[in-house]
């Protein structure tokens, strides 16, 4: 089987499973809302601070909610023995990586599609803009690719639920910084050249991570 077809089959399988179980998206969403709530309380005292905190709150929410989904998506495969089935795939195993990553990306984007209007409603800062969509798309892309790689790595390790965020967050620093600054610059109509630089950092991160993931995934999943 061709890798693309296999990846698409895995992607569709995840989407079907999610449509029936409605486990991942719903949990990520509720958790995301809770994170927003915590930040709203944390910055409640100072109105000026509240506006400046919007990009930070947004990305912290996406990152925290995403980790939940990434960990769960792989753990579910393992618990039901699906991973062993996937390993028998008559195709290149990187298909598993791309299929899972794309499915995770779609789930995270659905969560963002709900969180952004909700947070716009709460904060009064308009987050429903096309240029911001670009940052969200690029940011979540890199995030799910590194996240899927590391969650496959941690899923068969003793302390997996604890380990994933510990390994993932420091690796995410460039991505989060780029998304954060990009969002701030868009919301404040800041320096266009700086915005361009950050978008470049974001694209570089995405390309590097997807390549590294593609190269290393075989070694991650081999048993």
């Amino acid at each position: 089987m061709n890798t693309g077809t296999a990846a698409f089959a895995i992607f569709r399988k995840d989407l079907t499973a999610e449509r029936r179980a409605r486990e991942l998206v719903l949990t990520m969403l509720v958790f995301g809302l809770q994170v927003i709530l915590v930040y709203v309380f944390a910055f409640d005292l100072n109105v000026g601070l509240r506006d400046e905190a919007v990009p930070g709150v947004l990305w912290a929410t996406i990152v925290f909610a995403g980790t939940l989904g990434l960990g769960r998506s792989m753990a579910a495969e393992r618990e039901q023995g699906c991973l062993d089935g996937l390993m028998l795939l008559p195709a290149d195993r990187t298909a598993i990586y791309f299929g899972k990553a794309m499915a995770n990306w779609v789930f995270l984007l659905i969560v963002c599609a709900i969180l952004l209007p909700v947070y716009t409603f709460f904060s009064g800062v308009n987050l429903l803009r096309f240029d911001l969509m670009a940052v969200v798309l690029l940011g979540t892309f890199g995030y799910v690719f590194i996240g899927t790689l590391l969650s496959t790595l941690t899923v068969r390790v003793r302390s997996r639920e604890m380990l994933l965020p510990v390994l993932l967050f420091p690796i995410l620093i460039p991505l989060v910084l780029a998304c954060l600054r990009g969002t701030t610059l868009l919301l404040t109509s800041g320096n266009a050249a700086e915005l361009q630089t950050w978008l470049l950092v974001l694209i570089a991160y995405d390309v590097i991570i997807a390549t590294v993931g593609w190269l290393l995934f075989d070694a991650v999943i081999e048993d």
Partner: protein, 243 residues
Amino acid sequence: MADAPNAGRRNTSSKLLIALDVFALALTGFALVWVIFFTPREAVMGDVQKVFYFHVSSAWVGMLGFFGAFISGIAYLRTRRMVWDAAGIAGVEIGFVFTLLAVISGSIWARPIWNTWWTWEPRLTTAFVMLLVYAGYFILRASVDEVEKKARYSGIFAIVAFTVVPLTFISIRLFRTIHPVLFGSGSGGDVFQMTPRMLASFLLSLAAFTWLFAALYWNRLRLALADQAAADEQLQLEAEAEQ
């Protein structure tokens, strides 16, 4: 070690190691004395500037260690030889300790010069993020029991971790920097000029630390290999006991 089958070769290599160790100690000691007593005081910063020689050298050795682990990770995944896993853990451990030393010595320098122990300055922040990344490496190793899997996962993580370092640095650097730019054509007022004698001291400490790095790496590698051998032996004994 003397009763090992290839005792002759072992003997030569352990003699070499002793030579390496002694020379590392001597060179580091000499660099320390040289920097303290025979290097000119920097006109503006005074004695505290002397921390710089060891600070930069530590950061350099830290990078070397992480780079060693990166190369070892690639080599392990290609050859599947356990010696590369030993080289990986040796690299990360040395890299971690020396990055920590660089952060601490940087803080000692920053207190009088920047008037604060800590700032979120790019290089400091990058060093801090790297410490967090490689702390994850230790936790990952500790939570895998199977030897082969531990080696494979560690190798993979060391590769991922090192690949992200340049991007981490660039992205943090894009924020405002106040770290002095030492080499090249710095245009800011923060550039401090090294006199030839200061440059000599700097190169001396760099050489001493690099030598120290080689000695430590070899020792740590031997320890890791002995660890592996002991674990193998234990498995063998357990298997014999079961029979």
